[in-house]
Structure formats: structure tokens, C-alpha cells
Amino acid sequence: MAANTNPQSRRQFLLDMAKTACGVGMFGLGLGLYAKQARALPPMAIRPPGALPEPDFQGACIRCGMCVRDCPYDILELARPEDDLATGTPYFVARKIPCEMCEDIPCIKACPTGALDHKLTDINKAKMGLAALVDQETCLNFLGLRCDVCYRVCPVIDKAITLERTHNVRTTKHTMFLPTVHSEHCTGCGKCERSCVLEVAAIKVFPLHLAQGKLGSHYQMGWEEKEKAGQSLVAPEIEHEYNLPEGFKYEPGRGLSGEAVPPPATSPGAQPGVPQALHGDKL
């Protein structure tokens, strides 16, 4: 370095520096691209409760494994180099072993950096992922049976998963109880996926960005807007005119009322004098 006054060695010095800079630059570019690829969480990997959204999490998690250590059920693992998520970061696979949703959330308390957000103190508000019944063709409840296992094991039963009743058109005389996930309450713990009785689970937990859709920000729900405004936004509300036989009245929510003056003979089973489309109480 002292020989910088010599033009020969100054040239050498600059050349060496350029060489190093290029080498390191190329190495850095490779590493950067690799890091960029690993920024998206693969579908099967679920982060511990309170994890910041990817890739913020990968900037905050220092891969110390304290959450792994303080998990009383040994659920969490640190990713190894061959796993396809950022090396050293914690995750669990719901189908193997789901989160037990401890009330005191020890994994979050153990996190020294806040990669697991310390503001989350109610485990029921965790959003580790979101369950989705991805295969209606194999789900036993969708086939008309009463499996119900995912519903029964859900720690937030009747809120995160409900059984929605619907007519079984195959048998025509039974009800189907369809497991339905509600994103508002689902914590993504993975119990439903773990306990699905099928060989491959029909209900699966995915990272939020994979499981959830998003409405355009300009979308407005007419019925919500109406409620907010206290009245219809289309003013004045237009009265729908029904073209009914004489003596009949149709009110939304109440259905048809009134009496037919002359009972005309139509096909058996149909309510006399009423158009086919108006059977039942809803349109």
C-alpha cells in the first residue's frame, strides 16, 4: 500500500480492486437472486403465530431458534438448506403436527427480535395461515356423509369452521353438512388438515397470500352501503311490480299471500294459480 506512488503498482492495485469488486459483485448478485426466490413461502410451510408477513419476516428473523425451543409441543422446526424456504427460519407442517394454540403463546415471548409480533397476545387472533377446503370431490361431507372431523377438532369450532346445511340433490331426501371456513376466525393452526381422515387431506392450511382472495379496492357491497347510509342509495327505492293474478300479493321476506278468485286447474302439486317461479318464500 505504501508503494502506491509507483504507477506500475498503482495500476496493479486498481486492477486487483476491480477484480475483487467484480467477483464479489457477481457472488452478491447470485445470492440476491437466490434470496429473492426464497422470499415467497412455500404452500406447506406455516409460520409460528404472530409471524410478520413474508418477506418482512425474513428481514426480522435472525434464525436463533428460540421459538423452536420454547414450543412445549416441539412443533416448530428450523428450515434446513435443502428445504425450499429461507434457511434457518422456523415453520411447521400442519399435516405432520399442527399448532396447539397455547394461551400464553411461549414462542412469541421467546422471540428476541419481534419477527413473531409481541403485540399478538390472544392466540385466537393469530393468522398463521388460512384453512381451505380445497377438494370438494373427496371431502366425505361433500359426498353426503357425516364425517365432520375437521369441524369437531377446530379449536374455534362454530366460528372458524361451520357446517352449512344444504339439500342433497343426489339422494333428494338428505341434508349435506358442508364444512365451511370463515377467514375472520380461522387461526391457521392446522388441526383440521392434520385430522382429515382422507389419505390426502381435503382441507388444507395455506399461507394467507395463497389461500385468500382480495376484492378490488373500488368494490362496494350494495347491501353494506345501504346499511351505512340507513336507506337505499338509489333514491327513491323503486318498488318492484309483480305481475300477479288478481287477489295475490307478494312481499319480500314474506312471500305470497292472498286468495285466488277463480281456482283454475293446473298440473298437480303446483300451488293453484301461482306461477311456477314464485313457489317458496324467496326469489
Binding site: T20, R39, Q58, G59, I62, G65, T87, G88
Partner: protein, 302 residues
């Protein structure tokens, strides 16, 4: 080559085998002991230390955090919680006192890997090797910090052999062994002291912390040097020795002031004339008679 095999023979004759390997043994005890403390939890259920070198909690009370990884996290846009900040402060304070790169030679598990490679190089007289600037590590350090800022992730941790080996031993190695083997073979065949002495940004970072560290190796008895060159051969950063050992005529003090010195103490071990010892950086008069009593005392304590 035959001379290489005789490194330290004079020292063994003069001080006995134990005397000539004192610091090496202490260092291995420290490296393995720290590793053992971390492993006791997962393998024996005795939880003295939890975590790994990135962050650990000892006896549920003492937090220690790696300032390098937290700096990257900070550049990636995340401000850590209190415990990590306390841990960083303790670690920085400690290495400012004992020399940043003491981390490399007394704590880092990769040191044992690269030391083995260096030992095999000497043992089998492997002279081959690409020589490149030891400053490359600072370029890589800069690159990792820039990457943290531009990708918003701690990108270097995807590859870092230091944390990968340590984390791997504690939490499961996976294919991290391949990265460690690469480092070993690189040091053995491609470049002497290639990883720790030229490339590793962790060491580069810790060298910056320890730039003004209190504890330093010195050549207090440099007048006794018989030019056997053993210290130069065995030192992982041999460029740091010369100013202290041979600088008397230039008016340079006997303290090895370079931040690259890892305070490993191999030079102390391998010297038959007991030229080197540990001391404080301030006791550094060019006249090497005055301070020798105090400074040599640490290194020569039996």
C-alpha cells in the same frame, strides 16, 4: 517441506508439549465447551443455554446476540425487541475488550474446520493455492449489508457457513455439511486460510468491532527472536506479526495492533524463545525492555 513438519519442535523441547500447546488447548476447550453448552439442552435436556450464536439466552437471564446479523436485520428494515438489543450491547462490549476476532478463534465452530485444513496443509506440505487480497472479506461484508438493504431479507444467512454449522449441529444439519465441506476443501486445496483469512464477512465484521480492543498479543521479548519463522507459518493472519516483531528499528511498538489478529495465541505457543504474550494495547513502548515484566506476564503464566 520437511522444515514445515518441524514447526514448534523447538518450542516443545524448550517448554514441554503442554507448554507449547497451552493456548491451543485452551482455545479448543473454549470452542468445544461453548458448543457443548448449546448441545446439552437438546441432547441431554440440561438447559443452560438456549438458541444459537445468532441469539442465545443463558440460564434464562443472560441474552447474547450477534451484532452482525442484527445489523443486517436493521438494514432490512426491522427494529428488534429489547432482549436482542441488550444482547447486542453485551456482545459488542465484550469484544471491544477482548478483541473482535477472538470470536473467530475462541468461539466460532468453523475455526476448527479451517484449522484442520491449515494443519493438513502444513502436514502434507500442500503449497498450491490461489492468493488473493485479504481485504476481499470487507467487500463481501459490504455486499451482505447492501443485499440486506436491497432485498429486505437477511440474505447472507441463506449461505453463512458459520451460523449454518452452529445451527446445524444444534437444530439438525441437513445438507449444511456440504457447505462446511466446501469451506474445508477450499482452505485445504484452493487457498490457504482462504475462508477465515480472506472471505468470511463475520470475521471482517468482528475485526471492525475489535479495532481498538484492549487485549492484544505482543512481542514483548522480540529481542530474543531467533528468526525461526515458526510463528509466521502457524499464524492464520501472518501479516500482522511483522510490524510488532520486526518493527523495533522503525520505532514500532511490540503490540500486535492489527484488528485481523484473532488473539488465538498460537504464536505464543509455538515460540521457543517466549517472545510473545498477551497484554494490554496501551503498554506498547518501542523500547521493549520497560513493559516486558507486565505484558509478558499473562502469556507466560504457567
Amino acid at each position: 517441506m520437511s522444515t514445515d513438519r518441524n514447526i514448534g519442535v523447538d518450542a516443545v523441547l524448550a517448554k514441554g508439549w503442554l507448554g507449547a500447546h497451552k493456548w491451543l488447548l485452551l482455545r479448543r476447550t473454549s470452542q468445544l465447551g461453548i458448543l457443548a453448552l448449546f448441545l446439552l439442552g437438546p441432547f441431554a435436556g440440561i438447559w443452560i443455554v438456549k438458541g444459537n450464536l445468532a441469539y442465545s439466552l443463558t440460564l434464562d437471564i443472560l441474552p447474547l446476540a450477534d451484532p452482525y446479523v442484527l445489523l443486517q436485520s436493521l438494514l432490512a428494515g426491522h427494529i428488534p425487541e429489547r432482549l436482542a438489543l441488550i444482547g447486542v450491547a453485551i456482545v459488542i462490549g465484550f469484544y471491544v475488550l477482548v478483541g473482535g476476532r477472538s470470536y473467530c478463534s475462541w468461539v466460532c465452530p468453523v475455526n476448527m474446520v479451517t484449522d484442520s485444513a491449515a494443519w493438513l496443509r502444513r502436514r502434507f506440505g500442500i503449497k498450491s493455492g490461489a492468493r488473493f487480497s485479504r481485504r476481499t472479506r470487507y467487500w463481501i461484508l459490504a455486499m451482505t449489508l447492501i443485499l440486506a438493504g436491497t432485498t429486505g431479507t437477511i440474505a447472507w444467512e441463506m449461505l453463512n457457513p458459520v451460523s449454518m454449522l452452529h445451527r446445524g449441529l444444534i437444530f439438525g444439519l441437513g445438507t449444511a455439511w456440504a457447505i462446511i465441506l466446501t469451506v474445508f476443501l477450499f482452505d485445504l486445496f484452493v487457498s490457504p486460510d482462504g475462508w477465515c483469512g480472506h472471505l468470511c464477512p463475520v470475521g471482517a465484521f468482528y475485526s471492525l468491532i475489535g479495532k481498538a480492543s484492549l487485549l492484544r498479543v505482543n512481542a514483548a521479548q522480540r529481542a530474543a527472536c531467533n528468526d525461526c519463522m515458526d510463528c509466521f507459518v502457524v499464524c492464520p493472519e501472518p501479516q500482522v506479526i511483522k510490524p510488532a516483531l520486526k518493527g523495533a528499528s522503525k520505532g514500532l511498538g511490540p503490540v500486535i495492533n492489527s484488528a485481523h489478529c484473532t488473539n488465538c495465541g498460537r504464536c505464543i505457543d509455538v515460540c521457543s524463545k517466549e517472545v510473545f504474550g498477551f497484554g494490554l494495547r496501551f503498554i506498547n513502548k518501542a523500547d521493549n525492555n520497560a513493559p516486558q515484566g507486565e505484558t509478558a506476564a499473562l502469556g507466560n503464566r504457567p
